[in-house]
């Protein structure tokens, strides 16, 4: 994989992915981390447009035997070969966005989708790596310390953890596994809107079982409809139901009211979480070098830096002596 055009590493975080998606002009989409692979946890997040499974990549080919991929799948599945290492998060996200007609892609990605529609997978991958929009949004998470990022990119083969991302997405009545390092989309069998997450779960759990033996880290993200929108719609629905109730039906009324208060609570939680994400992203994108330098400079001017450095060195020395003794 080439280094084409300096793609920075980005953090695998639902807040980062959500902002990345809206930065590409896509509206109404959110990414949530899935902590438990049972249907009730996933039900809460519905509608889910796709799942992203990520694990620490060990360089060798996946130990998972791939079912035969369909040769004609390229006609109706958006599948791109992964050209750049660091772009795999963005690529996995695009694999989901591009394969769902319910998602409002916005002008830029819609154009990109139609422009690349007839491209074979390797050219699609190349088109992603050459897209100024996609690269600039991806790199907006480069934490604006440019010197450091360029260098990190070149040294990424070192002990930097390399994560690999695979998407699971339902397309035209079949569940697909989209792995940019595979030769094509893998058809995992028929599914419908209702049962695809269950089927994906089985595949993912099978992978997890394999990887947990070799202690590979993994996590799972769901690309969902904007939770605030979803909760607002559910609130509206229950409020409507409540209004249409006659006075007589007290029991039903109480049930709706308790549903509404649960939804209101979740709605507030969601708002708080969004504010937190926004804040974390601002800090991620801030260049902290001036703050660090000025903090150190002021400490030095007040003759407080040298004692801190000496203390840090002494502590290091002690740690080393301890570990040498072992």
């Amino acid at each position: 994989m080439s280094d084409a055009g300096n793609w920075c590493l980005i953090e695998s975080d639902p807040g980062v992915f959500t902002e990345l998606i809206s930065g590409m002009g896509v509206s109404g989409i959110q990414v949530e981390e899935v902590f438990s692979l049972d249907e009730t946890s996933l039900d809460k997040l519905k509608p889910i447009y796709g799942l992203i499974f990520l694990f620490k990549w060990q360089g060798a080919q996946s130990s998972m035997p791939h079912p035969d991929s369909q040769d004609d799948a390229n006609d109706h599945v958006f599948f791109a070969k992964q050209i750049i290492n660091n772009a795999c998060a963005t690529q996995a996200i695009l694999s989901i966005l591009m394969n769902n007609s319910d998602i409002e892609l916005g002008d830029d990605l819609s154009n990109f989708k139609s422009f690349t529609a007839d491209f074979p997978p390797d050219l699609k991958g190349l088109a992603i790596s050459n897209s100024d929009l996609i690269r600039s949004v991806h790199n907006s998470f480069s934490r604006s310390d440019p010197f450091i990022n360029e260098m990190q990119d070149s040294s990424a083969q070192g002990d930097e953890d390399l994560f690999h991302f695979i998407s699971y997405v339902p397309v035209h009545g079949a569940l697909y596994e989209l792995d940019g390092l595979s030769s094509g989309p893998v058809n995992l069998g028929p599914c419908n809107e209702e049962n695809w997450t269950e089927k994906a779960n089985q595949v993912i759990m099978e992978r997890m079982r394999k990887y947990s033996e070799s202690e590979i880290h993994f996590s799972l993200m769901a690309v969902t409809k904007d939770r605030i929108e979803t909760l607002q719609e559910q609130l509206d629905e229950f409020s409507g139901l409540l209004m249409s109730l006659g006075d007589a039906d007290q029991e039903q009324r109480r049930e709706f009211e308790s549903q509404i208060s649960i939804l209101q609570y979740e709605y507030e939680q969601e708002k708080t979480k969004r504010a937190r994400w926004k804040r974390e992203n601002q800090l991620r994108q801030h260049n902290f070098i001036p703050l660090t330098y000025n903090l150190l400079r002021i400490l030095a001017e007040r003759k407080k830096l040298q004692p801190l450095v000496n203390a840090a060195k002494a502590k290091k020395r002690l740690e080393r002596e301890r570990s040498d003794k072992k």
Binding site: R143, D145, F147, I148, M151, Q152, S155, E280, Q282, L283, R284, H286, F288, I289, P290, L291, T292, Y293, N294, L295, L296, R297, I298, L299, A300, E301, R302, K304, L305, Q306, L308, V309, A311, A312, K313, K315, K316, R317, R320
Partner: protein, 116 residues
């Protein structure tokens, strides 16, 4: 005899520990001098400064800067900060250069006071 030390393992985060700088940040003069370097959206309050210095994002930034310094390729950035390019040769060189810069400023201040 310090030559045997494996100095490259020192990180900025080891020096700027949250415990060590807690009391320093509560100094209003220091805090005010740092406000301009917070993200634009931040409130310029001591609590905010405190929170940011403790945030994982700031700690990660210290870690990245340390790694970059250890790779010895930050000469251009050092020049931007008014330091000698050799300050980019490691965390210790960077800290020593900041010390040296402060000492020079101190001397200059004393000289200009003598002249008055």
């Amino acid at each position: 005899p310090q030559g045997t030390e494996r100095t490259n393992s020192l990180e900025l985060g080891n020096v700027l520990t949250t415990e060590a700088i807690r009391s320093i940040l509560s100094d209003q003069d220091i805090a005010s001098a740092l406000f301009p370097h917070l993200p634009e959206t931040s409130d310029n309050t001591n609590e905010e400064l405190h929170e940011i210095i403790h945030s994982p994002q700031f700690r990660q930034s210290l870690h990245r800067l340390s790694a970059a310094l250890q790779s010895g390729q930050l000469g251009p950035l050092m020049t931007q900060l008014g330091l000698d390019p050799s300050a980019g040769n490691g965390v210790e060189a960077f800290l020593a250069a900041i010390e040296e810069q402060a000492r020079r400023r101190d001397d200059q201040d004393r000289d200009s006071m003598d002249q008055d």
